[in-house]
Amino acid sequence: MIPTYNTTFLLAIEDLTVSFDGFKAVDGLNLYIEKNELRVIIGPNGAGKTTVLDMICGKTQPTEGSIRFHNRELIGLPEHQIVRAGVGRKFQTPSIYENLTVLENLEVSFPRGRSVLGCIAFTRTKDVTERIHKVAEDIFLADLLETPGALLSHGQKQWLEIGMLLMQEPQLLMLDEPVAGMSAGEREQTAELLKRITPGRSIIIIEHDMEFVARIAHQVTVLHLGKLLAEGTMEQIRQNPKVIEVYLGH
């Protein structure tokens, strides 16, 4: 397929392929995300889900294809520039700064003072503190601002990482298994949090917990062996015979 040069989609992935020593982890993938959409990507292990996120955020370079964000080509840009363009990525294992407090974790993610000089000149002004408090409330950690990251529970670390991304004010948020290791209650809270933050941005989530997916997804994309297997609402996916055979079971 010929890449579209002008797209109104927030994120337009076309013909995306990456091959490692001959093995195609992702093969000719087309994926389109609208604004204000919450898309969940599911699929068996090895389907290439995490690899797709890796390529969007610049961690991995694809061998073919195009990724356009706000109509701007992302492939080839260094990671930090992709972040500054408005893409936030949460990793599978919680990736927070254990030696900093919750407040400092959030402060460091504030999108100012990210250059060397900016960093030296940075001061914690009122707008920074206000934003930190607002985000901390969103992620249920308002009472734990002075706690070092290392002392948070697993679920709280996941929330903190989401909070750190929120501080960056991303237009595209990518979460890799955000509720892995969480209790049922925490999953509910996370579902509610995600629904709350979707307006104004788009979110891509990789998940395995089907109940959770059903609760939050607008659209679901199913990947298998690096290719698109099916796409639709949760209902449609649940009834799709190919998906059942490959992933959902009877």
């Binding site: 490692f20 020593d21 961690k59 370079q61």
Partner: protein, 293 residues
Amino acid sequence: MQGFAGLSLFSVLLLMALGLAIIFGQMGVVNLAHGEFMALGAYTVYLCSSLVHTYAPALAGSYFVFAIIIAFLVAGTAGYLAEWGLIRHLYKRPLDTLLATWGLSLIMQQGFRLTFGAREVTPVLPEWLMGSFKPTDSIDIPINGVFVMGLTLLLTLAVWTFMYRSRLGLRMRATVQNRTMSGAVGINTGLVDRLTFALGCGIAGVAGAAFTTIGSTGPDSGSRYIVDTFLVVVFGGTSSLFGTIASAFGIAQGQSIAGFFLEGTMGKVAVLLGIVFILMLRPQGLFANKVRS
């Protein structure tokens, strides 16, 4: 005989790089004392030589080959002990391993100085290693150079065969590539680590033995080539045996040729600068396998 001097340097560098490639390239351990293990091998040969000439002069012609084997064993054992006593505590901390092995090298150097004196020593080489081989009037090939080269080729082949064709070699590679799984299938990873390190040091010992045929040995002989050796390994791409060989050859020859045109140490400076420059452009070395992103 510029070409040949380069080849001798190549042999020494390659032997040292082989040992280091196993330790650094395979295990990821930085051993700044590697040169001292080489010196240990050289001093062992010297010791054998002194003993033979004092107590059993009849063996003067034949002892040398045995001395090389003894050098391998001595250096290997020392390496085994070093791994057990020091290195294994520092596996997850490569920068700290750097410093600790530097400390070890200082201790070993001073040990050599106190035991053998600060002046350089040479073993008495057997007759058959002296002189040169003259196929024609104008070509003059020193025999010790041929011997060193032959030894190098033999050892390179032996290492390759061992690593890629033997069970223990397989276990070594498995441990390095996936420690947890190797442990799970019953490989004694601690022992394998120790043996791998010992093997690398043993090879350095042989390098030292070979070195005695082309130069004299002093307490700081080891440190003379350590930076070069690391550069050889890094330049060649740490995962490729062929890369190590090509890199050692290139660097040794480069130094010889440069030494011809530029006076004194500037030849070495030029080559080092070249290597560093190339590494800045291509940090994975010349022959690194395609890296999975």
